[in-house]
């Protein structure tokens, strides 16, 4: 056996020589490499073949230098298109190639859009044509008209109106419109989209660069659906493009939830366009595609009180209604959106959110302009401003008041969760969490008064690193309930704790301890802090209830966790088939725990369970 291993070592060594040769740009000469070891030649050749085959399969080009991440988009030159005379290429990019061309028979200028590559199979062509025909039947002054569909060789193309005024994207880049202009334009777009929806066609990729503007400023929506067929081919060839232009995506698209993309998806896009035209920026600009996607999924669009003060409240409300996260919360049809925009334009009340007293008054005045009214309005406005100042002042007071109230509780939370390691007995990192002065020491930024998010105390709890993960069996992580107390205490200026010892924020729950034990015994091996694969840290209470929301406190039937535990078929079942299963009593314990509001896991070791 030793011999065999030595042999293998020699071949491995020869392979290194071969590697050096090929990376040096030479064609490795296997015979020369094996000059002294001819008996190894067959094995060496076999391995080289394996390596080359696998590298080819994996698509890895080996080099010691960093690999080039970019891919080149190869696109062949345009074929002749019978019946048209091609003048020039006017656009190439995500959507294949677009040529300016003359339709010879009618002597009219058209835009010819075609795939940069060939469709390999006849039935694809057929499908493409059927879809294109459906769109060509849409006849609407604000939808780019498709004149003809055909194929040159095996390359499908369609000929459409040639529009010369650039796109809405160009226009936005130049300037933001007035609120009225914007409302008018989006209303027109909404009516056109409604027309398509009526015909069963959803656009799904509405964005300013797909809206063409004629010289006289009429918008025309292009790239209906067809874009998809053409895009996919080239969209993937540029870095980052697989996610297209995510700025205009709806949350359901960003989340990959194709089942719920539909008419409401287009309404969301109209909302995004409206927002961008009003403010000059899309609602969720990101540093990168992925950043934007994450923001679309998690953040709510807002108008800034200060910098967007000039945008009428009603228009803001209309826009935000389009941008609702859940499709069912948006306008139910594009026509409803257009109607509301038109109401705004004619100074009538819109259907969304009852407008503020002030704006209602303003609108009334606009319809009944008169001196006296203006005067009344001025007074009212003053009163209004005064009351809103009072309100914000009252809010600040309330926040401070709340902080004073929760200060003893904040102390209790810190004492219970952190003092065991950051207290008098044990002082990790010279941190005593009950030493108020030390906490507020500005050098350490442990507690930054009025700013929970910059307080390191909060940061370390939120990122799950305190108490230390590896101690999670004994020191559970802080629950949402407790975290909120700490945040409120800091938000209100982190007042002195007061010396009364309050009752625990989280009462000890025997049931929660039982559940902790069940999780420890049946789930922990795959869902502990240092196993990345399971995806969820099962003893991280806040993760379960608030971050990932697999547990809905008080509502077992809507808790994903219960669904996983009681799943009949193997797919997605927890624990997976083959692992020790929960007994019916244990499942009932978990269910009951959730029903009682899923109290946080208590401190202390979970004891190995005996035969339950």
């Amino acid at each position: 056996m030793t011999d065999e291993r030595d042999d293998s070592e020699i071949v491995a060594e020869l392979l290194l020589h071969w590697e050096r040769a090929r990376q040096g740009g030479d064609t490795p000469d296997v015979d020369a490499l094996c000059a002294n070891h001819l008996e190894f030649k067959p094995e060496l050749l076999r391995r080289i073949k394996s390596i080359e085959r696998m590298e080819g399969r994996l698509g890895v080009t080996v080099s010691t230098r960093p690999q080039d991440a970019s891919d080149n988009a190869g696109s062949s030159p345009p074929a002749d298109v019978p019946g048209y005379e091609i003048e020039c290429l006017i656009d190439r990019g995500g959507a294949g190639l677009v040529f300016k061309a003359v339709e010879i028979a009618l002597q009219r200028t058209v835009a010819l859009k075609m795939l940069a590559h060939d469709f390999p199979q006849a039935d694809h062509l057929e499908r493409f044509r059927r879809e294109a025909e459906a769109i060509a039947r849409l006849q609407h002054p604000n939808i780019v008209h498709i004149h003809a569909i055909g194929d040159a060789g095996s390359r499908p193309y369609y000929a459409m109106e040639f529009i010369d005024g650039g796109t809405l994207a160009d226009q936005i880049r130049r300037r933001t419109g007035s609120p009225r202009e914007t409302a008018e334009l989006v209303s027109v777009l909404a009516r056109a989209i409604e027309n398509a929806h009526q015909a069963g066609i959803v656009h799904r990729d509405l964005k300013p660069s797909n809206i063409l503007m004629t010289i006289d400023g009429t918008p025309k929506i292009g790239d209906f659906g067809l874009a998809k067929h053409l895009d996919v081919e080239t969209a993937h060839t540029r870095t980052g493009d697989i996610i297209g232009t995510p700025a205009y995506m709806s949350p359901e698209q960003a989340g990959g939830d194709t089942k719920s993309t539909g008419a409401q998806t287009d309404i969301h896009a109209l909302g995004t366009i409206l927002y961008e035209m009003l403010t000059g920026s899309t609602p969720f600009p990101g540093r990168s595609a992925i950043h934007t996607l994450q923001r679309i999924l998690t953040e709510h669009a807002v108008f800034s009180k200060r910098s967007h003060a000039g945008i009428p409240q009603d228009l803001q409300a209309i826009c935000l209604k389009c941008l609702e996260k859940r499709p069912q919360d948006r306008y139910s049809t594009a026509a409803d959106l257009a109607d509301d925009l038109d109401r705004f334009l004619s100074n009538q009340p819109v259907t969304v959110r009852s407008p503020s007293r002030l704006s209602r008054m303003r609108r009334w005045v606009r319809r009944h302009p008169a001196w006296s009214v203006t005067l009344v309005l001025a007074v009212a406005e003053l009163l209004f401003l005064l009351s809103s100042w009072r309100q914000s002042h009252a809010e600040a007071l309330a926040i401070q008041q709340r902080a004073i109230e929760v200060a003893p509780q904040a102390r209790e939370v810190l004492e219970r969760n952190c003092a065991p390691c950051h207290g008098l007995k044990r002082r990790e990192r010279e941190l005593d969490v009950l030493d108020h002065r030390l906490l507020l020491d500005s050098n350490r930024r442990l507690v930054v008064a009025s700013s929970p998010e910059s307080s390191r105390l909060i940061q370390r709890i939120e990122d799950g690193s305190m108490p230390p993960e590896e101690d999670e069996l004994i020191y559970p992580r802080v629950s949402q309930q407790e975290l909120v107390i700490l945040q409120d205490w800091i938000a209100g200026g982190a007042p002195a704790f007061g010396d009364t010892s309050s009752k625990p924020v989280v009462e000890y729950s025997a049931l929660a301890m039982t559940v902790k034990q069940i999780f420890h015994e049946k789930c922990y091996n795959c869902h502990r802090y240092d196993v990345a694969e399971g995806g969820i840290k099962i003893l991280h209470h806040r993760l379960l209830t608030d971050v990932r929301r697999v547990v809905v406190p008080g509502d077992p039937s809507n808790s994903e966790l219960m669904q996983l535990l009681t799943q009949q078929h193997a797919k997605g079942r927890m624990p997976p088939i083959g692992s020790p299963q929960l007994s019916p009593e244990q499942i009932e314990d978990v269910r009951f725990w959730i029903e009682l509001g899923a109290p946080p896991f208590p401190m202390g070791p979970s004891i190995e369970m005996s035969n339950r």
Partner: protein, 194 residues
């Protein structure tokens, strides 16, 4: 939109991440997302039908977001741990993607969008799932390689690093790394042809 991180900047960002710089996390996440995207394309490239089918994007996006969420919760102790865990997640997503696109119960054949859509978006044709099955096998086989070899594949294949950078991160010489890479590939190929 900014360009994605190049692999040589990755090491730099990882270092900052380990030191606790939260901004570095975004860079690193982006890099991993981009790798997943490239690898998916590589995998699905062999299947013009899938590639051209619009839902590829959605499925990939899903995978991307899951990857990012998983990575976001990691507290890497060092670069090597992070890259290893990220590679593991990427591998898991790729296996998942390959399974989804694989018939007869895969996405490619069993499709449930709304009826009005069906006419337009049925899979363009049914196709032979054998190749995607092979991809699944490859990813799974990589997961079963001896640790040292798997780490080499993680860095070079899943993370797209150069041999130099990979060796640096693993703290071994380039020759050792090459040795592991060769031996991993031979093992994988043997498994496939066996």
């Amino acid at each position: 939109m900014q360009e994605f991180l190049a692999s040589n900047q990755l090491a730099e960002s990882l270092k900052r991440l380990v030191q606790g710089d939260a901004n570095a996390r975004d860079d690193v996440l982006e890099y991993s997302g981009e790798r997943l995207r490239q690898l998916t394309r590589k995998m699905l490239n062999d299947f013009p039908v899938v590639r051209r089918w619009s839902e590829t994007d959605d499925v990939l996006q899903n995978a991307l977001l899951r990857l990012l969420n998983a990575l976001q919760t990691l507290q890497p102790a060092n670069e090597r741990d992070f890259l290893g865990l990220a590679a593991l997640q990427i591998r898991r997503e790729l296996i998942d993607l390959a399974r989804r696109f694989k018939g007869p119960h895969g996405l490619a054949t069993n499709h449930d969008s709304n009826p009005a859509e069906d006419r337009l978006h049925q899979p363009l044709t049914t196709f032979d799932p054998a190749d995607l099955a092979q991809w699944t096998e490859i990813h799974e086989a990589i997961g079963e390689l001896p640790d040292a070899e798997r780490e080499a594949v993680d860095l070079i294949f899943y993370q797209g690093l150069s041999q130099d950078d990979s060796a640096g991160i693993l703290g071994v010489s380039v020759r050792t790394l090459q040795r592991r890479w060769h031996s991993a590939l031979v093992r994988l190929d043997d498994r496939r042809t066996r």
